[in-house]
């Protein structure tokens, strides 16, 4: 009897078990893993991915993809850099040299516009979310190239970069931001009507609608959030990287999805928590860091990441199997005869 209740609990918190496992494994294999310095490092490297994962998790919970996220990050980053810097070599900026504050506002505005566009196409024009955001992925990356003509924009004001590479005492600002953002996201999805509506929409959109939830409005809202998160991440990335490289974010979408999924956010919607997603991000970053410290070739790391995702997914698949089997047992096939 107890094992039947223990197993689902174990499976639900799988990500933390995996994280714990990774921490144990790596701290035994290398000496320098479990140090404050290294942990801080892990968190810093998680910042941009983490913010993007928050945005993606919001859409995934409602059962929708936002494949355009990586391109949004790229466009907003280079656009921001472009607006703030002088023209000509070596800056390659626009020459407009807007104030960082104004630029930031514009960056967020762009993020919201893209999110709004995605949302409208998907809910009002009833287009498939995969296709729409896929197309946007391509278009927006193209726009990024258009802005910079392929060149890297440099000369970003130091103040602007503070979020990405500044510190408050011993703690990097980006880490504070990362944790605060996840805390806020967790809070919203746990304790607000808005957040709970999202789970209903993703879990059973008909049930949600019948209960009076405006599902389409919620979907449009999560796309706005995703767009805003991309802007936020762009701000951090510009600080971290220091320059506006046209290819910022390229191929990141896979890692974003992987971190979310590995953290328990179901691709079908309605399941998973922000906390779990954070766990997914931390796990991937930890593996990165640990393997690095073990001086494993940088290239093997990607491979290991992929295998970890596969393994986690295999376990997850068993979890779904398990859930449906126990539900069947509860139903009892005998019927009424």
């Amino acid at each position: 009897m107890t094992s039947r209740r223990a197993v689902p609990i174990l499976l639900d918190n799988l990500i933390w078990l995996l994280l714990l496992l990774a921490l144990i494994v790596f701290s035994t294999l290398t000496g320098r893993f479990l140090t404050v310095f290294n942990i801080t490092n892990i968190l810093v490297h998680s910042a941009v991915l983490g913010i993007m994962v928050i945005g993606q998790s919001f859409t995934l919970v409602t059962g929708n993809f936002d494949l355009s996220a990586e391109s949004n990050l790229g466009l907003i980053a280079v656009l921001g850099a472009f607006l703030m810097t002088a023209s000509g070599e070596p800056f390659n900026g626009s020459g407009i040299v807007l104030s960082p504050v104004l630029t930031l506002l514009i960056m967020f505005a762009v993020g919201l516009v893209i999110g709004a566009l995605n949302g409208q196409l998907i809910t009002r024009l009833k287009m498939n979310n995969f296709i729409v955001t896929l197309s946007m992925l391509i278009i927006i990356r193209g726009l990024a190239f258009l802005v910079t003509h392929g060149k890297t924009v440099t000369g970003i004001p130091e103040g602007f970069k503070a979020l990405g590479n500044g510190s408050l005492g011993p703690v990097p600002i980006s880490v504070i931001v990362l944790l605060a953002a996840f805390a806020l996201a967790f809070f919203v999805t746990r304790s607000t009507r808005f957040g709970r509506d999202l789970y209903a929409v993703g879990g059973n959109i008909d049930a949600a609608t019948v209960s009076g939830i405006d599902a389409h409005k919620r979907i449009r809202q999560v796309y706005l959030i995703s767009g805003a998160m991309a802007a936020f991440a762009a701000w951090i990335e510009l600080g971290r990287l220091g320059v506006g490289a046209t290819r910022i974010g390229e191929n990141m979408i896979f890692e974003i999805q992987a971190a979310a999924v590995i953290g328990g956010i179901s691709l079908f919607g309605g399941r998973g928590t922000m906390l779990g997603a954070l766990g997914g991000v931390l796990l991937l970053s930890s593996i990165n860091s640990g393997l690095n410290l073990m001086q494993v070739s940088g290239f093997a790391i990607d491979m290991v990441r992929g295998i970890v995702i596969l393994a986690a997914m295999l376990i997850d698949a068993q979890k779904t199997r398990y859930a449906s089997v126990s539900a069947q047992r509860a139903i009892g096939k005998r019927g009424r005869a």
Binding site: M127, I138, I139, L143, G298, F299, D302, V304, G306, A317
Partner: protein
């Protein structure tokens, strides 16, 4: 042959009308568009994408995604050259000095193997196809980086490079290869039991099973085909470029989807035709080529391609709505 419904001819063969419209547009706005040379060039540029689209279309027809093909392409392209060249600078091969023929054989076997793994994980282990192929995409790319430590390998074997650079008469070999493969794929999917079963599985897997089809076997087979074709595409690309960067093919999976979907292959499965998919490939490549000839900045081209996809998908969504409206909710509800 696509089952008939009440949609007008234009909507059903939308993609070719779009291609026609684009061709007309570019003929009017640029010089030298409507030449044989240019068409051959377009096909040449389309060939690698085209081969990938064949594989993806087959899996999509069964209602499954294969995100890993871009990484399989990368791996096989690298290994293809790596197997046959000397180690160290300037070629950075493995030093094993295998014969080109053996190397080519091996990379295709590897492509098949990757497809087999995908298929097994999805059917036997019941893991979601998006997630499996996503994880494989990451893993195999990692493997590719690992093989040569991220170093580009350079290939100078004539025999190997023939598939990318050779010509049969005036026509480049890749063009022949890609058109030939499309033709084969078209014939197989339209006229053979195998192909027909793929459509059945994608359209209604349960009904297909109840009709004697073995969906699991077929799904494993299409993933193996996708893997095989991705390996072939890798060969073609690395041969044409005469080198293989470890990032080769990265990011291309989206264009593959775009071309397939824009050509009428439904993401839900069970619908679409290889001819349409070919149209999608040609459309995207033609736009790129035409814009090039118009001296449009390279950076506009990317954005415009994405826009065309979006517009085409918008039209597609309206078509689905329209069909739904004219035929009603379909079926009797006896109770």
């Amino acid at each position: 042959m696509r089952p008939r419904s009440s949609t007008p001819f234009v909507l059903r063969h939308l993609i070719w009308f779009l291609v026609g419209a684009i061709v007309i547009f570019f003929t009017l706005t640029t010089r030298n568009f409507l030449t044989v040379g240019n068409f051959v060039n377009i096909l040449f540029n389309a060939s690698v994408l085209g081969v990938l689209v064949i594989g993806q279309s087959c899996t999509l027809i069964t209602g499954n995604f294969d995100l890993s093909i871009e990484s399989t392409l990368g791996l096989s392209g690298l290994l293809g050259i790596w197997f046959i060249t000397a180690s160290g600078p300037p070629l950075y091969g493995s030093g094993w000095m295998l014969s080109p023929a053996l190397s080519i054989l091996l990379i295709h076997l590897i492509g098949l193997g990757i497809g087999l793994i995908n298929g097994l994980l999805i059917t036997k282990m019941k893991v979601n196809n998006f997630v499996v192929t996503l994880a494989m995409l990451i893993t195999i790319r990692g493997l590719t980086l690992l093989v040569n430590n991220g170093q580009t390998a350079y290939g100078v074997s004539q025999a190997y490079n023939w598939i990318g650079l050779g010509k049969l008469g005036p026509i480049p070999v890749p063009v022949i290869a890609f058109l030939l493969l499309f033709a084969i794929a078209y014939v197989v999917t339209t006229y053979t039991p195998f192909g027909r079963e793929l459509f059945a599985i994608g359209a209604n897997r349960n009904a297909a099973y109840a009709s004697g089809v073995k969906p699991e076997t077929r799904i494993i087979q299409v993933y193996m085909i996708a893997g095989l074709l991705a390996a072939f595409a890798g060969w073609m690309l690395s041969a044409r470029l005469t080198n293989a960067m470890s990032s080769m093919g990265q990011g291309s999976v989206f264009e593959v989807f775009a071309a397939a979907v824009i050509g009428g292959i439904s993401l839900k499965g069970g619908q679409g035709s290889l001819v349409g998919a070919l149209g999608g490939v040609i459309l995207l490549t033609t736009i790129g080529s035409g814009l090039n000839l118009m001296n449009v900045s390279v950076y506009w081209i990317q954005a415009i391609r994405g826009l065309i996809i979006l517009v085409a998908m918008l039209i597609e969504a309206q078509k689905v709505r329209y069909m739904g409206a004219t035929t009603g909710t379909g079926g009797t509800k006896g109770r």
